[in-house]
Symmetry: C2
Subunit: 239 residues, 2 copies
């Protein structure tokens, strides 16, 4: 998982028997969604990290868009798009079902993910300047999650243990403290407004699947800064 990111001129390591291959980038929140699902369901897999600034030619045969995450099966089939991968894995591997069993609840959770999908776009706008201040939109979307968690009155959105909704939104919560460090004047989250989410965030940090890929805020900041300088250091965690 913390292997060197492969760029142009590299060779894709052969697939391992009985394992899925996840193509990832160690700091990509979308790729982290796939990691979390694979780890939560304990699906045997290996990881190949892709240097997104200098993508290997062979990667476009796996994902024509060149984005991460993608997963490759032993059959050679490849699929991409983080939510499609997450749904595929939950459908194909019945152990520890992450989606709610009730189709209405499953649909409602997917609607919440759809609402959530505006947050990354607005966070991006916040950092890269925009005519309209997107912070209000971010806070309004977070209100929805605070309210939902209060209504559900459970530790996680998924109940006693994290479910699909918890995992697919987690990567952005993991980065909140890093956002605060990078842009303290722009990224102002009134903590008393999100009491439940704050508790949830602390509890999520203790989850076994979350622990596998968890990166400390300072390291996220280091990556952000390298990325902003135009020379993204993907290999910060390589030993």
């Amino acid at each position: 998982m913390n292997e060197k990111h492969l760029g142009k001129g590299s060779t894709n390591p052969p697939l391992s028997k009985g394992k899925l291959r996840l193509y990832s980038m160690r700091f990509c929140p979308y790729a982290q969604r796939a990691h979390l699902v694979l780890d939560a369901k304990k699906i045997p897999h290996d990881v190949v990290n892709i240097k997104l600034s200098d993508k290997p030619d062979w990667y476009f045969e796996r994902n024509p868009l060149g984005k991460v995450p993608a997963i490759e099966m032993e059959s050679g089939d490849c699929i991409y798009e983080s939510l499609i991968i997450a749904d595929y894995l939950d459908e194909k591997y019945p152990q520890r079902l992450l989606h709610p069993k009730d189709p209405i609840q499953k649909a409602k959770d997917r609607i919440l993910v759809e609402h959530f999908s505006k947050i990354p776009t607005n966070v991006y706008k916040l950092f890269h300047g925009s005519d309209i201040d997107p912070l209000d939109d971010i806070l309004t979307d977070l209100d929805l999650f605070e309210k939902e968690l209060t209504l559900r009155a459970t530790r996680f959105f998924g109940g006693d243990v994290p479910g699909m909704l918890d995992y697919v939104i987690w990567p952005w919560f993991e980065r909140i403290d890093a956002f605060k460090i990078v842009a303290p004047e722009k990224f102002v989250i009134p903590s008393e407004r999100y009491k439940k989410l704050k508790e949830w965030k602390e509890t999520m940090k203790e989850d076994d699947a979350v622990k596998v890929t968890y990166i400390k805020p300072e390291i996220h900041v280091q990556f952000f800064n390298s990325y902003k300088s135009g020379n993204a250091n993907y290999d910060i965690l390589v030993k």
Copy 2:
């Protein structure tokens, strides 16, 4: 289905026993996706049309975003977002499964829908002016579908009968001839480049579910023009 569109000050008719309620707008391609799935699976439902330019207050209690489509169950539960509705209906009502049974094929079809989702945005740009000419992007995306249909060598993407992929992309193909009438100089589709898709489009028009909501190009044009003039005539088909 061709009832008057309800606006502010209207009353929402009571739900009917044993039926789902679909909130729609007669010319909305996203709402048409929900119609197609309901009709293909023969799920009992009624339709309430929403005047999108003057939404009734009660509609925001069904969908806080105020968009169509949304479906309401007898339980009072509501869900929205066309693809989430489509997946929900296919999961909840087992008759005539529209998604492929094989999870990999299902994921691959969903990836194609994801690729397709850029087309409506680019069509919008084409009509509303944009710095870059979006036609090339539209044609490149259509190439993908032409190639896929050639590879599958079946009448429909779903095989001998239309499946989910066929239905969720159909509404934009139904409107292609109208786009050509509205903007003949901009919307230029080289027909020899899309032979398979052209055949597919003609065959789709004969499908029973497609026939239920099918609107002729001239009527679509009438709606477009009223919409562009700032006074959308939702009720063209009301008798």
